[in-house]
Symmetry: C2
Subunit: 265 residues, 2 copies
Amino acid sequence: MRFARVATPEGLTFATVDGSVGQEVIRVIDGHPFEEPKYTGKQWPIAEVRLLSPVLPSKIVAIGRNYADHVAEVFKQSAETLPPTLFIKPPTAVIGPEAAIKIPEFAHDVEFEGELAMIVGKPCKNVNREDWKTVIRGFTIVNDVSSRALQFADGQWARAKGIDTFCPLGPWMETDIDAFDFSDLPIKAHLTRDGETETKQDSNSNQMIMSPGEIVEFITASMTLLPGDVICTGSPAGTAPMFPGDTIEIEVQGIGRLRNPVERA
Amino acid sequence: MRFARVATPEGLTFATVDGSVGQEVIRVIDGHPFEEPKYTGKQWPIAEVRLLSPVLPSKIVAIGRNYADHVAEVFKQSAETLPPTLFIKPPTAVIGPEAAIKIPEFAHDVEFEGELAMIVGKPCKNVNREDWKTVIRGFTIVNDVSSRALQFADGQWARAKGIDTFCPLGPWMETDIDAFDFSDLPIKAHLTRDGETETKQDSNSNQMIMSPGEIVEFITASMTLLPGDVICTGSPAGTAPMFPGDTIEIEVQGIGRLRNPVERA
């Protein structure tokens, strides 16, 4: 099932999303997406609503260096000498689909990073890897926008990856976790510039170093996760610079596409 | 004026704190500490309430390497080669005064870091350094608990400093900002072990590299700050290992003391 947060002509609400691409129907629910939906009976064609980020996370915990091919391209090292690490993006960086990524003057070498994101469904701590599906409510797509210049200048990544608008999230949450096969889940990023679209990231979750279960175990050994918290599972290779005027579309099979234009802040 | 968040026999509430050390009176307010207090008429002696963290931040943004003496002791470099940086602690790390810092087995070389913290009073972005007092509601004390082993192993500091209970905050927020003289504000940390108390940090805000105004300008160039968000201004020298059984008391002149026992998680 797909859950979205939407702005309708009658206000903000959670909803489910049914139907095929471009013809989706938004069915308003009473309550939140962490329980079985209770429908109000209201519904809208997708063209008449605006999709927002599917959740408002209290924290966004991200795994860095979780794809061997991306470690090689950005850090010029192997994943053996530079293992996965953990960083945090602030909630104020979150935007929804179609909202603009706004690059400030001082942030140079800004790149997109298309990733699968997990959305936490219940408060949890010390989760064993094999139990990860009991605490994850669903998946969405994240673009972990990063200024490479600030990332390397600061050493810490919080600023490079934490600038307002640097965490596009959406277009919705897919709760059918069992339908995802991590041995073969395509993850892509398409860059549109001057009317031409090029696929820059074209990788697969089979390149992941830490699996979803290992990530949940790793994070919850340290931190309590809360419903709506977001876990970014890491970017595969193919990240590339983007500039005002570009549009970035991240595609994860089984979820859909997260599209955001790029502007100067 | 001092604002606290307290658990009273009648429930959780915000309150003001009046009176001298040990004899404080907690006066319950109707509303929140970001406006002039409206008193309900209820009051309690401090001994009959439990102080909680003074705010529940949506994010905790911290400046690392902001004291030259601490840069030298931890990183073995000068502040010129290793300038201040920015990192984020998650809200789930926050505890209040007297709550236990709980060290998990895998977190080695855990040290206290006594710091002055600013509490944001209004939503703000792109604040000029000279206007910082218009967006900061008050000051409190933070203990930026850090596992040095995880900090250096991970490279990123989010896990080392983001473990549950690793952000003691309090005991209250002091809003009389103008009473603080940053050219001479003593900051201390006292460690009690086996009944003996030793002052381990004994420094002064005159060692700060970035001033409060520069910090607010630096952060808000990237991130929107929201009411209740916390800015940790950096730790001076003297941080030291702590172990289960210890008690750590951070002291900032003009605010008071933040005391937390240390336990094994």
